[in-house]
């Protein structure tokens, strides 16, 4: 991540007056990565689509204000993470339930979701992830499904690599215990 191509793209987005063409390149470059990042958090395709579009709109509006203190990809992932967490908190508030209850409800909804065809094992894994605290869920999804490096996760979540490793270790232990039970 953060290749020379991305650096050039960022310069173009921040200096040019008409950024539509460069913005289209940015969308093409990041749409799948950010889609799966959001989808792993909110589970449902329609909600993911809404959040992803909002993320890119925010990026479009704020790209000139991006100071480059962090890398472009970590900034994009951070926006996507924040938007997803905000969405989940709002949803929990709307249904007057806790975030943990919402996580379980989202997994229950998967069984009737037309855009989900996971087998029993995959569904069980999702149920196991839903039992984790939110931070551990994020770390597990980013490491296990998205295969991001600890260094990259560290930049996105602004957490030390050591803490992330510990988080991932706890998460995998809990998941294995859940999967082995019954």
């Amino acid at each position: 991540m953060d290749t020379q191509e991305e650096k050039n793209l960022l310069i173009a987005l921040q200096t040019k007056k008409d950024i539509n063409a460069d913005f289209a390149k940015l969308v093409a470059l990041y749409q799948q990565r950010l889609y799966w990042h959001i989808r792993n958090m909110v589970k449902n395709h329609e909600d993911t689509d809404d959040i992803l579009q909002n993320v890119f709109i925010k990026v479009y509006k704020n790209i000139k204000k991006f100071k480059g203190d962090s890398k472009l990809y970590s900034w994009l992932y951070r926006i996507a993470t924040n938007e997803s967490i905000t969405f989940l908190n709002q949803r929990a508030k709307k249904y007057k339930i806790s975030n943990e209850e919402l996580s379980i409800q989202l997994i229950q909804n998967l069984e009737a979701d037309v855009y989900y065809d996971g087998d029993q094992m995959q569904l069980k894994l999702q149920k196991a992830i839903a039992t984790l605290p939110q931070k551990q869920q994020q770390v597990f999804n980013m490491k296990y499904f998205q295969e991001l490096k600890y260094k990259e996760i560290s930049e996105i979540l602004e957490t030390s690599e050591g803490a992330l490793k510990a988080s991932y270790h706890h998460a995998t232990k809990k998941i294995e215990a859940f999967l082995k039970s019954d």
Binding site: N20, A24, V27, A28, Q31, Q32, Y35, W36, R39, N40, K43, H45, D49, L52, Q53, F56, I57, Y60, L110, V114, Y115, Y116, D117, G118, D119, M121, Q122, L123, L125, Q126, Y144, F145, E147, I175, E176, L179, K180
Partner: protein, 176 residues
């Protein structure tokens, strides 16, 4: 050094296509070994989540549409903002309070509260003009005008004293 000549011809042979298929066989073995270590975890990345067909080819267009819709709308500042509601309701409450107080004050005000001197000043400053007939009608017909000054007969001495004290320039007044 050529890779194919690493093995010298010492009579040993390998099955046909062994090296071509070796990599695949090895990866299969590695993945099965991994599965033994973590038998409960399914294959990585395969989450079971699906995406509608052509979703990623149409996404950019949907975003551009939303962006242009936002641009054409311009920046709309809602008047029904929470802060504005607080300001407006505050002003409305103040006006209501002032009106209530002033109305209450008016109702407490009575004609008796007006000082007599104020009434005198009002008339003396000629804020109201009344003709003689109007005054007569106000006083009524029962009053005997000759009796009005009867009790206050002025003696000649008093009159002279008054006139001498006054600086009278008017030529019309004559003292005999």
């Amino acid at each position: 050094m050529e890779k194919n000549n690493l093995h010298t011809n010492n009579g040993f042979k390998v099955p046909e296509n062994y090296f071509e298929s070796f990599t695949n066989k090895l990866s299969e073995k590695v993945s099965s070994t991994n599965n033994q270590n973590t038998p409960t975890l399914p294959d990585k990345k395969d989450t079971g989540f699906k995406v509608p067909k052509e979703y990623f080819t149409t996404l950019e267009g949907s975003i551009q549409q939303k962006l242009s819709a936002n641009k054409s709308k311009g920046k709309i500042i809602s008047l029904v903002h929470r802060k504005n509601i607080l300001y407006i309701s505050g002003i409305a409450a103040m006006i209501t309070l002032i009106l209530t107080i002033s109305i209450q004050k008016k109702s407490e005000f009575d004609f008796d509260d007006i000082k007599v001197t104020d009434v005198h000043t009002y008339f003396s400053e000629e804020n109201i003009e009344l003709t003689n007939t109007e005054i007569a009608s106000l006083l009524g017909e029962d009053i005997n005008y000759t009796e009005v000054f009867e009790d206050e007969l002025i003696t000649d001495d008093t009159l002279l004293e008054y006139l001498s004290e006054e600086n009278l320039d008017d030529e019309i007044i004559f003292v005999e």
